[in-house]
Amino acid sequence: MAELSAGEKIPELKVTPDKYLPHRYAGASGDFNPIHIDPEFAKAVGLPNTILHGLYMMGLTARAAAEAAGGDPRSLRRLSVQFRGMGAPETEIVVSGEVKSVEDGRATIDVVASQGENQTIRNAEAEVEL
């Protein structure tokens, strides 16, 4: 059983998705929106290049929260996020978080996912069972 206390930082999760990660995520999730996998299409709709799936980055946020609670997938009870900046492949993603409160064996963790200065997921809140 994991121990978490208010104010504590959770271990940072650092992942650099390779060029083809969005293709693999599309296959795993069923989301083949071309803005994630086709550079020509992405540029034609005004994006700098293909962008990461927001739900992939939310998946990393979920992974970081569950791992902070000991790694059992059952421990993650709720996750709420806002998608803001666009995520790019081949750039390191850092998921960090801080425990806001612990009550009745449940911890609430504030989580952020960033690529450098660009916060791609913010105001995220995870509830984990300890």
Partner: protein, 146 residues
């Protein structure tokens, strides 16, 4: 132009998804999750699961198909060219395991205008073959310039 809100409260036909062991493994590998409960039946059973268990965010794979018809419904009339996925919440219940048959129903919770943007909020509720709730999702799409 005033935003159309007639679709608030509308529900769409349920979709059903049978969870497969290899699909769970594929999803876990993409996220870089190494816990053997997502790959190995014996490890999953030893941890108290009926079968290989899905990572929580695998819920996207089985619940999103129910949302497709809702997002493209002409009564909802969402402008896709100006739409972004603004926010997402999931609340998990029973774990989803290999062999589960998961039924998802989508509903339009809210459509409203704020600061010149349209907010389209949908809910999906997914239940397993025993009728237990597996996950409840709230999907917020934001359309600029309505």
């Amino acid at each position: 132009m005033a935003i159309k809100t007639e679709a608030v409260g509308k529900e769409w036909p349920a979709t059903t998804y049978e969870v497969g062991k290899e699909k769970i493994g594929e999803y876990a590998r993409v996220l870089g999750i190494e816990n053997p409960v997502h790959f190995d039946r014996e490890a999953a059973k030893a941890a108290g699961y009926r079968d290989v268990v899905a990572p929580p965010m695998f819920c996207v794979t089985y619940s999103a198909p129910a949302l497709g018809p809702a997002m493209f419904d002409p009564e909802v009339a969402m402008n896709f060219a100006a739409m972004v996925h603004g926010g997402q919440e999931f609340v998990w219940g029973e774990p989803a395991c290999s062999g589960d048959e998961i039924t998802t129903r989508a509903k339009c919770l809210e459509i409203y205008e704020k600061d010149g943007k349209g907010f389209y909020v949908f809910e999906t509720v997914s239940t397993n073959q025993d009728g237990a709730e597996v996950v409840r999702g709230t999907w917020t799409n934001i359309v600029r310039g309505v």
